[in-house]
Amino acid sequence: MRPVIESKDLGIEFYRSRRRKMSLREIVFKGKNLAPKDTFWALRNISFTVEQGEAVGLVGGNGSGKSTLLKMIAGVMIPDEGGVKVRGGVAPLIELTGGFLGELTARDNLYLAGGLHGLSKAQMDERYDEIVDFAGPQVRAGMDMAYRHFSSGMQVRLAFALITTLDEPIVLVDEVLAVGDRAFREKCYLRMENMLAGGKTLFMVSHSEADLRRFAKRGLYLQQGTLVGDGPVEEIIEQYNADADAAR
């Protein structure tokens, strides 16, 4: 069976000092070439494969390129070198509330965001109750309210409930398990475990050792844009902690 995620020599280059924006004023007064050419590789030579059903945790310090890697797997950023092949649909638990608009009601938002992730209206009708039940009674009571009147916790709960019902074979998680209150977090964990048990592939970024140990079997360790470790999650966490302690 072919791997579901296959990254080969993946690399992406960013501009360092400032956004690569040019303004007309600068071109007119300073000449065009003043835009700094100072770049760095946020990720480079990243090669790995993930088999179906694997649970992979991505470890690394701030700015090591974890989220960027996740975005490229999700297809919302394009690599400058190499590429990543993803076989199957992706449920991205990244920027959860990205598809939601403050001024529309929660209900409209749910259908809209579902539509953006490829669910038809009929499919949404089918799943509506399940999603809202999972998000909790507070959310259900406010489904006809403007989304911006939701508390941020409720906003994320609804979004989490939607994305996790997408039924895609690959689940990408970027630190979102840290949201919601204690009771809801436990619900999220259970759902994640169910998804894993159902044979889904999990690819998660987390700074929480507890989350990593709970969900991931395998760890990938990123250090300043290079992949420096790939192995059982326990070993990778040890390696990461050892490096972090040594740097202190």
Binding site: I12, F14, Y15, R19, R20, K21, M22, S23, L24, R25, K71, A74, G75, V76, M77, I78, P79, D80, V90, P92, I94, E95, L96, T97, G98, G99, L101, E103, L104, D108, Y111, L112, G115, L116, H117, G118, S120
Partner: protein, 266 residues
């Protein structure tokens, strides 16, 4: 072939496109009790101003064809679709940056969706135009010519032109902050550089040649052909077909080239 994969990507996601267009229209019409009226009120007010200024003050009826009101209404409505598309598509990726960042859709969709939404508003404003046409037919000032069949062609061509322009503007704006200002000025100039309130025949010969380079000139020619049975300006129409397809291909290439840097910026 460069256009095919993009077109296929959009068609495969037509359901998402439908969702987005519905949202746009919903947001636009839900907030105001007379939502639909605003779509037609604005161009009608403009048409009224031009009519008064040019018929009563400058007494320059000759610059257009008779009936002049109908002539201006067609021009202003079609131009409004084009100019709104240019303005909004230039902000398409920035305005929806959260959505663009969090959903893996063909990115061209964010441009096409605006052109479609604005196009639906344009179609909704067509009854006004036909209202004027029927009135002038009833009073015997014009009649319907079989060339009215060119109108759907004009709509399709204007759609493709707007998509092409939008595909250039949307990514460029992300990397080049001053683009919306340039677009605003260009559109203001474009209004007068397009035969909206005057006909090509009224322009001096040199200007007539320059107008050949304006794709909207040929498109307006086709919109009006059904009601103003003067001699059809065929070179202008051919030129707008050519320019539209060149723009569309250029837009697709520009968009593809700039996609990766744009995604890093937003």
């Amino acid at each position: 072939m460069i256009l095919l994969p993009q077109a296929r990507g959009i068609i495969a996601r037509r359901q998402v496109l439908d969702t987005l267009v519905r949202r746009d229209l919903h947001v636009r019409y839900a907030g105001s009790p007379i939502g639909y009226l605003w779509t037609i009120l604005d161009p009608l007010a403009m048409a009224l101003i031009y009519f008064v200024v040019f018929t009563y003050i400058f007494e320059a009826r000759r610059v257009g064809y008779q009936p002049y009101v109908l002539f201006i209404v067609i021009g202003v409505l079609a131009w409004q679709w084009f100019s709104q598309c240019a303005t909004e598509t230039s902000r398409a990726l920035l305005a929806e940056s959260r959505l663009v960042r969090s959903t893996n859709l063909p990115r061209e969709l964010w441009v096409v969706r605006i052109v479609v939404a604005k196009g639906i508003e344009f179609l909704l404003s067509l009854p006004v135009m036909f209202g004027f046409a029927i009135f002038f037919i009833a009073v015997g000032e014009t009649k319907i010519h079989y060339r009215i069949l060119l109108m759907p062609v004009a709509i399709v061509l204007q759609f493709l032109l707007s998509v092409g322009v939008g595909l250039i503007l949307a990514p460029v704006t992300v990397l080049f902050t001053d683009m919306p200002r340039i677009v605003r000025i260009a559109l203001r100039m474009g209004f007068y550089a397009t035969p909206i309130i005057y006909g090509v025949h009224a322009a001096p010969p040199v200007l007539q040649k320059i107008l050949l380079l304006n794709p909207m000139a040929g498109i307006l020619e086709m919109y009006r052909a059904g009601f103003f049975p003067h001699e059809l300006n065929v070179p202008s129409i051919i030129s707008s077909f050519v320019i539209t397809f060149v723009t569309l291909i250029a837009g697709t290439i520009v968009f593809k080239r700039l996609e990766a840097p744009v995604l890093k910026e937003i």
